[in-house]
């Protein structure tokens, strides 16, 4: 046992030192983000105490002193939507600078995919944006199907649309519930999660899992929707518009909600576009960009629905757009139920798709195909493809490169949360610290998707 201060064995926060060491090793000077991290983090407890004292002295409240106070929010702050860390420079209550620091949930999914077969990689990509697992798989299977030039049965496409919209509904419910919580409205959270739980139950009915389903397969869907599912969904859809009215009754004209959201977090639509922002955040600023309309995939062209837009571009407009999108999703799902075509749910391509289970009992060929597909996986022709879909948060893109083998050469997921989060800095700068929370909530980032 050493006699030194036991705390010194645990440096409070190591990332400041990591920033300096990393930059030194790579032979470059500290970048602005690294400088911000080094400024807010101490190496040892003694230094931490010294810095705290210095910061307090700098930020003394004498009128006119105007020294900035640098504070660290996160990564485990309950109001930052998961493990998002934000370093904020404050002048009184006003935010002068925002530096988002991400990567706390990085699990190297893209690297893992390179060591799995095309078929196994579905399991990995599902786990990125955990509130929209169907969106992740959807873009991945579309990209792989593009390389394989596959025809997908109509019923499979319609089921994909159905589940994607159900997923959009569930994801927006989480947005609504958690941002209510962050704005101090407790009850909306319980109402939203009540309905979301019903959706998760239905996901479980279809795929066996409440989250991280690997239900979409290359070529279609893993199996047909179970008996009783459509009846349950019909009941749910009948109730849902009334439930959305309920949420709106709680929030839309609520003076506190309006005070916290209206006019908060606005930048010009062109700037949002330049930052690559897509989805409800962009549509709330007046640009009606929706991939379901502009580049229909999986048969979205068969359905009638509107693309809700607002022009204000503030947090309140983003809330309105999402609520109206929930209503549109209900409309689309109703149309799917009314016109769901009969037929197979997966393509009949024995070189890619597993043969039906019962055939293994009598067909030698099916058995061989099954064995080859499970042990070796299917091969994808060499080339590259980029498939995009409209996820609840914006443009979800999947870039796959194949070298002709049974494993992906490269899988890259362009996650909308990751790109949209860049807008946090311009949106929150110059506002109040409390508005920063509203802005984060209205961007609706999912850290699993940001960090992948």
């Amino acid at each position: 046992m050493s006699t030194t201060d036991p705390l010194s064995a645990f440096p409070l926060a190591m990332e400041g030192r990591e920033a300096v060491e990393g930059a030194t090793r790579e032979g470059r000077s500290l970048s602005p983000t690294e400088r911000a991290i080094a400024a807010v983090e101490a190496y040892t407890p003694a230094e931490a105490a010294e810095r705290t004292l210095r910061n307090e002295m700098l930020a003394d409240s004498r009128p006119g002193s105007r020294q900035p106070l640098i504070i660290n929010m996160g990564p485990n702050h309950p109001s930052t939507h998961g493990v998002l860390r934000v370093i904020v420079e404050l002048d009184g209550e006003v935010v002068r600078e925002v530096v988002p620091v991400i990567g706390y949930l990085h699990t190297g999914i893209e690297k893992q995919c390179e060591n799995k077969t095309w078929w196994q990689a579905i399991t990995c990509v599902t786990r990125m944006d955990y509130l929209a697992p169907f969106a992740n798989i959807h873009s991945y299977v579309l990209a792989v199907e593009k390389l394989l030039d596959m025809e997908i049965p109509a019923r499979a496409e319609w089921i994909r649309v159905l589940l994607s919209e159900l997923n959009r509904l569930a994801s927006h419910l989480v947005f609504l519930g958690t941002s209510g919580l962050e704005m101090g409205a407790m009850s909306i959270f319980f109402y939203c999660y009540r309905e979301r739980d019903e959706v998760l139950d239905m996901f479980e009915m279809v795929s066996g899992e409440r989250m991280n389903h690997r239900y979409f397969q290359v070529g279609g869907c893993a199996q047909d929707i179970p008996e009783g599912f459509l009846e349950r969904l019909t009941r749910f859809l009948k109730e849902m518009p009334g439930r959305i009215d309920e949420y709106e009754a709680l929030l839309t004209n609520n003076p506190i909600w309006i005070d916290r959201m209206k006019g908060i977090g606005v930048i010009p639509a062109e700037q949002l576009l330049g930052l690559g922002v897509t989805g409800p955040t962009l549509r709330a600023a007046g640009i009606p960009l929706d991939l379901r309309k502009s580049e229909p995939y999986s048969g979205y062209e068969h359905f009638q629905f509107d693309v809700p837009t607002e022009i204000a571009g503030d947090c309140y407009a983003r809330y309105l757009v999402r609520v109206r999108e929930m209503r549109e999703s209900v409309k689309i799902m109703q149309q799917v139920i009314d016109g769901l075509p009969e037929g197979p749910v997966i393509a009949d391509d024995r070189k890619v798709v597993l043969p039906p289970r019962e055939e293994l009992a009598y067909s030698m060929e099916a058995l061989i195909h099954h064995f080859k597909l499970v042990t070796e996986g299917f091969k994808v022709p060499a080339g590259e493809a980029y498939a995009t879909i409209e996820s609840p948060r914006g443009e979800m893109g999947c870039y796959v490169v194949s070298d002709g083998g049974p494993k992906p050469y490269r899988v890259h997921m362009r996650d909308p949360s990751f790109v949209n989060l860049q807008a946090l800095r311009p949106l929150a700068k110059g506002g109040y610290l409390a508005d920063l929370i509203a802005v984060i909530a209205s961007l609706d980032p999912v850290m699993g998707g940001v960090d992948r």
Binding site: R25, S31, P32, G108, N115, G383, G397, Y399, R414, Q422
Partner: protein, 173 residues
């Protein structure tokens, strides 16, 4: 990589070039190395030292590729250029898409940053720097983003092992 469906070289058939390549060639002659269409996607490969000019031409030209959907990279250790960058562009006005490609070079991979054209390239280029070690000139904040700041090596390179972290008590038999 791959067998492109239709391969066209700018010197051979200037008249048949796509709008995107024509736009680049108009302001930066000789920048386009090749272009081809595969699986319905147009790919324009440009010389790495002309990437910024090509980006400017595509954004301000008639097709108006105002939205940079994504910047990403793939590592081909056996190719002389090694790191192949892919910029996925989308035109909000016309709905068109194009993939801009460039090879960053194997020994000291570097390329100009396009953050001055599309500010949204910021984090995406940082991710490529972090995962592949490609340096972007003129990037305002080039540092690691997903991996820890003092991480050694660039995980998405093909020669980076997937071994992972050593598990506790590995040596204690």
């Amino acid at each position: 990589m791959g067998r492109p469906a239709r391969k066209r070289h700018p010197e051979e058939r200037v008249g048949e070039l796509s709008d995107a390549s024509t736009q680049i060639e108009a302001t930066s002659p000789g920048a386009v190395v090749q272009e081809f269409e595969d699986h319905g996607e147009l790919t324009v490969e440009v010389r790495a030292d002309r990437i910024l000019e090509a980006a400017r031409a595509l954004k301000s030209g008639p097709s108006q590729f105002t939205l940079l959907s994504g910047v990403t990279c793939a590592d081909f250790p056996d190719e002389p250029g090694r790191f192949r960058l892919a910029y996925h562009l989308r035109s909000v006005q016309t709905g068109g898409r194009v993939r801009l490609r460039a090879w960053a070079g194997g020994l000291d991979p570097q390329i100009d940053s396009v953050t001055s054209v599309w500010p949204g390239a910021d984090w995406q280029e940082r991710e490529v720097f972090d995962q592949f070690g490609v340096r972007f000139h003129g990037h305002p904040d080039l540092c690691r983003i997903l991996n820890p700041l003092d991480w050694d090596g660039h995980p998405l390179r093909r020669d980076y092992p997937i071994g992972g972290e050593e598990v506790q008590f590995t040596d204690a038999v």
